[in-house]
Symmetry: C2
Subunit: 380 residues, 2 copies
């Protein structure tokens, strides 16, 4: 019997406990041993819940219980989650998380601590929710030099854009619908401004290119600037507008990453990733192109990925997993505005136009004194 502790009893933490119980026999078969939740840590009280007996509020109980070999961190943020993760690793426990902010900002440090203590820090659920993506990149594509990774990484913004495209509603109306359906939070700014996608593309870039991409360097543009007129123009030109996170090699030892709305050709597979779904494309020098699709968020899909990591950790108490990358070196990050592509430009009194391949600086020079209303990259 392997004992685990779940930190944070919110949507994801609750989903983990639920899936662990519901699929217990399947999980035991996969792990070749029963896995049981010994503690659930949350500062709040949940007197009515069926797992009330497992609830604790003091992390040191978990930290000092040698029975607990694996800690699941679903608290979120880089505050107390960072503190608890570090302490768990230092006490020789493997940690599994869905916390993209923590992995994107402190991942390198936490992975090193895990390495020193010969335990695992696993985070399949931090990108793409339930979609298998971290393990496929690090294991299945381990024979490839990966030159590009991009995708629809945020379900909230994809739902809003999908509504705007399919129903011709305005951004504000689409946002209201997303909030009514529970797809957008009351304060949806981290999604809308692209911050969520930014953290995810940083993690993907770290793993694909083997070198730390600093969240601070990643230019991040959300979807607030996408107007109904752009959606219309894009359709007329044979494109859909999608918010993409994109990371790519720009030279032998240089990479870039950014988040921005893109025009994607109608008929391409990614343009058909609609609603709250996510899709991630990886280019490698042996495999060519591969795409991974599924629910990028939600209680049970995210729990699916977290519990898979728990099983993996349980099978690898003595072996370290593949996840790792190097520190950034000076000059290893290219400003994404220098990356050449075709652009969609819509300016006051002018129709939208698709310019020749050029950098963002050149396009801005091209549009001259006239401030463009919209300026988006076109994905070929």
């Amino acid at each position: 019997m392997i004992h685990i502790a779940v930190l944070g009893f919110g949507v994801v933490g609750g989903g983990v406990v639920e899936v662990m119980e519901e699929n217990a026999s399947r999980i035991a078969r996969s792990a070749a041993e029963e896995i049981s939740v010994k503690y659930i840590l949350d500062v709040r009280d949940f007197p009515e819940n069926p797992w009330a007996a497992l609830m604790v509020q003091d992390f040191s109980v978990i930290e000092n219980d040698p029975d607990v070999r694996i800690v699941v961190e679903t608290i979120g943020g880089a505050g107390v989650a960072y503190d608890f993760t570090k302490r768990a690793l230092l006490h020789g426990k493997s940690v599994v998380t869905s916390n993209k902010e923590l992995v994107a900002t402190r991942g390198l440090e936490l992975i090193r601590i895990a390495k020193e203590r010969n335990v695992n820090y696993l985070f399949e659920a931090s990108v793409g929710g339930g979609i298998p993506i971290i393990r496929p990149i690090t294991q299945c594509l381990a024979a490839n030099e990966i030159d590009e990774v991009y995708g629809i990484l945020n379900g909230t913004t994809n739902y809003i854009l999908t509504r705007m495209i399919a129903c011709g509603v305005s951004f504000d109306e689409a946002l209201k619908q997303a909030q009514e359906k529970g797809y957008a939070e009351k304060d949806p700014s981290a999604d809308l401004e692209g911050l969520d996608a930014c953290r995810k593309i940083c993690i993907l870039s770290d793993l694909c290119f083997g070198r730390e991409v600093d969240v601070e360097n990643v230019k991040t543009e959300g979807i607030a600037g996408v107007k109904a007129g752009d959606v219309e123009s894009a359709k007329r030109l044979g494109y859909k507008i999608k918010l993409l996170g994109r990371g790519l090699r720009t030279g032998k030892d240089t990479v870039t990453a950014y988040v921005a709305p893109h025009l994607i050709p109608v008929g391409s597979l990614l343009s058909n990733v609609d609603g709250v779904m996510n899709g991630i494309v990886v280019h490698g020098n042996a495999i060519g192109e591969a795409m991974f699709y599924g629910a990028g968020a939600g209680k049970r899909p995210t729990a699916s990925a977290v519990v898979a990591d728990v099983i993996d950790a349980a099978k690898h108490f003595k072996a370290r997993k593949y996840l790792d990358w190097d520190e950034a070196s000076p000059g290893s990050f290219t400003d994404s505005d220098e990356v050449v592509s075709r652009w969609y430009v819509r300016a006051e009194g002018k129709d939208a136009c698709l310019t020749e391949p050029m950098s963002k600086y050149e396009v801005m020079e091209l549009t001259g004194g006239q401030v463009p209303l919209s300026l988006f990259r076109v994905l070929e």
Copy 2:
């Protein structure tokens, strides 16, 4: 330094040697040790090739060399490939393969031998070419009860159907084009008749449902019966015709699998998997739906998957991987004709129609004395 041997110097074997050399430093970084090809076995002579010094024709050289820890089998078929695989495993070497026929027909036995000898038998490349699918199913979805798996598993037939749909050409003309482009073999019957897809859906079903699905039980219908008139009718009704392999649970302890052309709604992601590309959909009770897309065949994509398995084997000399399933039990396989779905029926003198959900037997009764020209399932 880890030494490997490659059996069979055809398209895939050649690709493996090529990728091993080209991406040597990336592979060494992934495996945490250099990996080197010590032998290439083929009955043919290749005097001009740069690896001539590595060529051997006698398997016992490889079998008896304790330096060789991993054997890559890319011979194909279930004859000599079976013999060599078994001998390699019995000599304590891990075996990696792209051989779907051998895995589908002898996989259970070979996995058991591998288990006894505490080595690995890995076959990521046997389904979906380069697409990561075996590892995602067995590891990333390990917390799910999987109830269905289906997909476009054969690039040759998908290319032919795509040409028929996009250009309105006949089956014969599309086949000619596929052969000219090298997408179809001179004798394309294993592809056209669905045998290739059958082997793949058997492997996927074995892994998803944990129980052996016998190739002999799987009703397999190819694409020769798809007429230009069906393609037209389907389009008019809002569908595309695609050849699918499909495995599903039919009860608590029963499963089925089959291969047949299906009508798929235009606009669904799978309907946009065109040309020689493959797409595989998995349904789990936690993740919901996930899809995996990429090149299902070809020298380098397939080599990408094979070499990933070599790296994995190299990192797990002392640990066994997850791949395993049980023997079939009497009555555990349901005849796929009993599986209820909507059907497309086109009969002499009658238009195509989409009937209500029913089993194949009921539809055939429904059409009465009139022999239907075409009878395909409709995927909802």
